[in-house]
Symmetry: C2
Subunit: 348 residues, 2 copies
């Protein structure tokens, strides 16, 4: 159960809902009356040849993607492109533990895979909008996982792809890191196996999770240079509490856990009997893989190891003291670099 009205149009809107009806998951479970929440910015051209797809990252919604990455004069300019921002399953806007009815509510919500999101988004793009080819699929972190999955599953639909700060297959180190995030929430006795009555009940676990997220999500340099001062925080402790703990406080623990397990199991190799190399060889899109040099969630070397397996792809490196969480848009330098790389890719 979510905290009050956090997962609402008031806070995360406006967005639309696509009725997916009976939606069968990779796990073998069926979501009944499933809904995909999405936001569009810009206008679809009559030829339907100006569409981009941008799936959300862990804990994020279409709102922050729109705010941080789109705008007049930006690479993702709504006057030029029709930008579809898809909320991933479990993020609280699309079908999620927090908005499902018994017996599929809370801990009863079935496991979801990155591929499930991509199949649902494919319905949105091709059946709902009647788009046969996307000019660009892009996303950060778990959005990058979805981007890779798109490029591998639907090469004919994906003309260009820009996975940012994420991998096609979760590494063993990444799985361990995500396990520590899971641990930090599940260690709260009030989580109660997922059967807590109110989201607020799990606040201790959510606070721990936030601190852990901050400790590896930002680079040590951000702390050394007090880079958070520009945002008005008074100390490192204040920054972590007033920014990161505050951000996660209204989130639903089961939603976060569903996304964390999805993240942990991300692997396009499942499309090719477990062979990552074969799966990546199916990509025909023009791919710019974008990595953050200081990223501790998805280290540059892990990203580069995959990128070299993607024919014709290039690797763009961006440096930011904000580390992985530069994705949040707090670093103007990062935002400008992203725009430059996306602009180059879209022009190619």
């Amino acid at each position: 159960m979510s905290n009050g009205c956090y997962y609402s149009q008031g806070i995360h809107g406006p967005y639309d809902l696509l009725e997916l009806g009976d939606f069968d998951l990779e796990s073998g479970f069926r979501l009944r009356g499933a809904k995909l929440a999405y936001r569009t910015v810009g206008t679809l051209s009559p030829a339907k040849d100006n569409a981009l797809l941008f799936p959300t990252w862990y804990s994020g919604t279409s709102k922050i993607i729109e705010d941080v990455y789109t705008g007049a004069g930006r690479a993702l300019d709504p006057s030029k492109y029709f930008i579809i921002i898809a909320n991933q399953i479990g993020n609280g806007l699309s079908t999620s533990p927090s908005n499902s009815s018994a017996p599929f509510d809370r801990a009863g919500f079935p496991p979801v895979a990155i591929g499930d999101d991509v199949v649902a988004q494919h319905k949105l793009v091709t059946e709902h909008f009647g788009i046969s080819r996307l000019e660009l699929v892009l996303g950060g972190s778990m959005g990058a996982q979805q981007t890779f999955e798109w490029a591998v599953r639907y090469p004919d639909v994906v003309k260009r792809a820009a996975p940012i700060a994420g991998t096609a297959r979760a590494t063993s180190h990444n799985k361990l890191l995500v396990q520590t995030f899971i641990d930090s929430i599940c260690s709260d006795p009030n989580w109660d196996g997922g059967w807590y009555p109110q989201g607020e009940s799990v606040h201790r676990g959510l606070r721990r999770h936030a601190r852990l997220f901050a400790a590896s999500g930002f680079s040590p340099k951000l702390f050394a240079t007090q880079g958070w001062r520009g945002l008005g925080f008074t100390s490192a402790d204040d920054f972590v509490q007033a920014f990161v703990e505050a951000y996660f406080a209204p989130h639903d623990a089961n939603n976060l856990l569903l996304m964390l397990r999805k993240w942990q199991n991300g692997d396009v190799g499942r499309q090719a009997n477990g062979c990552l190399k074969t799966a990546l060889s199916r990509i025909t899109a023009k791919v710019s893989v974008i990595a953050i040099a200081e990223d501790s969630f998805f280290p540059l070397a892990d990203i580069e190891a995959e990128q070299t397996e993607i024919s014709g792809s290039d690797l763009k490196k961006i440096s930011s003291p904000w580390g992985h969480l530069a994705l949040f848009g707090t670093d103007p330098g990062f935002n400008a670099a992203i725009d430059a790389h996306l602009g180059d890719l879209l022009a190619s």
Copy 2:
């Protein structure tokens, strides 16, 4: 309360105990009947001019220091040097929560500072052994914190110093990281504010703590290259469980928490009214600061920022996929580099 007989001569010996008697702490508390456990290797010369001091790191004891860092043909050769390995307060061999009597047992054990260890070790060195000058003080991680504290507090005693993979003042990022370690243990309801009856009771928290330690203690490269295969582990999960969880399983939670808080509060600046620069300027020892390039606990840049404030010091960088936990001695390349740097320093 510790698990069975983990903190014993059988496992960590041999070692000796120095009776500190009434020992007053920085926190204002007094340890009564305090004991400092130490191990010596080699023979003190008649002139008492061949002594080295090597304090322990977080969770470690004199045993691993002796095994990994000393030996015939090594830089720390017992045929040449008298090597004093001092067990830090709270490590289970020296006076600790796990071996103290009520009301100072378990959560009743008072807070201890890095400076308290150094004062106790100073008694051992000068009063017990009658040594007026140490050829070298060195240590890794929390051992580096103690090394810096020695060099600042007792410049006349410290001829050379080699702080390895640690800082003189815990950075705000480091404090946050350590807080996540603290969180991982204290989140266990069985920890019960420190009043658990048996160490085994806190096993869930200790397991979480171990996973967290592994996630940032080793570099992602170790996982990417399956560097743990050489030690006989079968998978990344097996490595984390059979190596890191197994290592921490018999530890006492209150001992670990005492050391973590000591680590978190490490700051030689307290010797100079809070001014780190002034404190470091008091160092007269020849200092080689040694950093691990892949270290996520004590990042190279944070170490270098301090090193440049120490007059006449030099910075030695060692690269290891084992990251901070290369200190454990699992990487022959790291061990050889340490020997080379210590050999150079001792020859200077």
